[in-house]
Amino acid sequence: MMTMSKTLKYTIGIFAAILVVYLSLDIQNLEKHKAASAPASFNIVDYTARFWNDSLPASIASAPQLSDLLKVLNENPENAFTKFGHKLGISKTYYFMAKGKGTIEKVEPEFLVLSLNEKTKVKVATDFIYGNAVREGSGKVNINYFLNMTDFNNVSVAINKLVKEKVVSRLKKSAEIGYVLEFAGAFEVSEENIDLSTLLIIPVSVKLSDGKSD
């Protein structure tokens, strides 16, 4: 009887201890917690530098080859949207990050025409670097982190500025017809009008060679 009573006491004690620990815990979704604890004053310079140095290389590393992506977009757009695309809120626009290699066929004032293979040509932007293609195509910027849309949108502006400074200015100076361009870049496609001939890639990483030497 004495042993029974002790066992019951220990059981109740353990039960009570578990209850007290459980009730003293507040389990939260990590993403929501991060969003809630984001700083009130947002430092755009630090945020964009972290994006450029950490998030973007990771996004480029996992990006598909552009020729493969275009093939899926042609044959099964839904699959391409789901597997590789990013969409912001309620929208008909999907954003992608991809990488590839091609030969420069034309140098226009606002873009280069690049031949990926005999059949596929794409445009790489060298002017009018605006919009959210890089921010959204990377899939690395979470809107819930930001206090307001102004901060969120300023990230796109700051990223585009880096694209112009670090990538496009150099590309514009050196690009010549016949050169081989190895690149990573972001672009958008509307699910309403999947016209891949108008595709414009915003480059985020480029490597030019004259096509003769390694």
């Binding site: 109740i12 809630a36 008909k92 809107i143 819930n144 307001n148």
Partner: protein, 314 residues
């Protein structure tokens, strides 16, 4: 001994259940009523927003009432007092002020009433359950690029702003300037607010034209102001020389683009935004709790090239 232990256990469990109920948000009884609080019903755009939200709430089986804040934050606070006292299930909310309205939303949240912001943003990550917002900045980035090309990268222009306390005013303005300011030969000769009001915009534009006779374009924060600015340039005999750009996609502006009076606008989708907000409120009432804090709604640039697509449907 046994009885004492049982008594202790009962007291302990009662205490625990008491603590437990204290740690949870009190679940209120459903009233089957949804409140729609709109910043002003003195603007047809917001009338569409409010009526679409209330209409969808009624379709979903709720009693829906529209409250007009008359662009007055004190009036808005009064509406929230009444809504909280009357125990509505949810609030579909178009705020008057990005900062000033936060407290109202927090009070509703404390009373167990979720708020779903529509079109206008509040500066808070967690007060509203979610915020459905037109992606105004991105829309004006597109408009800015079109503006630059239409102006051949040079000329004098005027900007007429909306209400200065509204985030939409600055999202539109900043989106536009994030493009246009990179072209040094495009010079902004005046920037003034007309509170999203057509008549005020006409007055503002008349005054600006007196001081600046050489104006090539006007960028307005909404279509009502664009139409007011157009009236002013028309009266001054300059309608064919000054390009007008708006924002909203109102029927008048769309017709204005088709008739060559307005150069471009950015179309928002208030009906879709309002109906989706009501759907989300319904999901909340039925138990869903996992919402993204912000949901941008895509907007579309409308110009003479694609205006026919938007002349009848919205």
């Amino acid at each position: 001994m046994k009885r004492t232990l049982l008594t202790k256990l009962t007291i302990f469990l009662l205490l625990i259940s008491g603590f437990s109920s204290c740690t949870q948000t009190s679940e209120k009884k459903h009233s089957n009523k949804i409140a729609v609080v709109i910043s002003t019903l003195n603007n047809p755009w917001f009338v569409v927003l409010g009526e679409s939200a209330a209409g969808r709430a009624r379709e979903l089986g709720y009693e829906a009432q529209i409250f007009d804040s008359q662009n007055n934050s004190a009036k808005e606070a009064e509406h929230f007092d009444n809504i909280i006292a009357m125990g509505y299930d949810a609030i579909l909310f178009n705020p008057t002020d990005a900062d000033g309205s936060v407290l109202n939303v927090k009070r509703a949240k404390e009373a167990g009433i979720p708020t779903f912001c529509m079109d206008r943003e509040i500066n808070s990550r967690d007060a509203a359950t979610t915020q459905l917002l037109s992606d105004s900045f991105t829309g004006c980035v597109k408009l800015g690029q079109y503006f630059v090309r239409q102006m051949n990268k040079k000329g004098n222009y005027v900007e007429i702003l909306g209400i200065v306390g509204d985030n939409n005013t600055w999202n539109r303005s900043n989106g536009f300037h994030s493009v246009v300011d990179e072209f040094p030969d495009l010079k902004m000769v005046a920037q003034q607010s007309a509170d999203f009001d057509r008549n005020k915009a006409m007055d503002v534009m008349e005054t600006i034209m007196q001081a600046n006779p050489q104006i090539d374009a006007v960028f307005c924060g909404n279509d009502a102001m664009a139409l007011g600015a157009y009236q002013a340039v028309l009266a001054a005999g300059k309608a064919d020389k000054v390009k007008i750009f708006g924002f909203d996609g109102s029927d008048d502006a769309i017709n204005g683009i088709a008739e060559g009076k307005i150069s471009a606008t950015v179309m928002q989708f208030p009906v879709q935004m309002a109906r989706t907000s009501a759907d989300l409120a319904d999901e909340y009432v039925k138990g869903k709790r996992d919402f993204s804090t912000k949901t941008p709604v895509e907007v579309v640039l409308v110009t003479s090239e694609n205006v026919s697509k938007y002349q009848t449907k919205k």
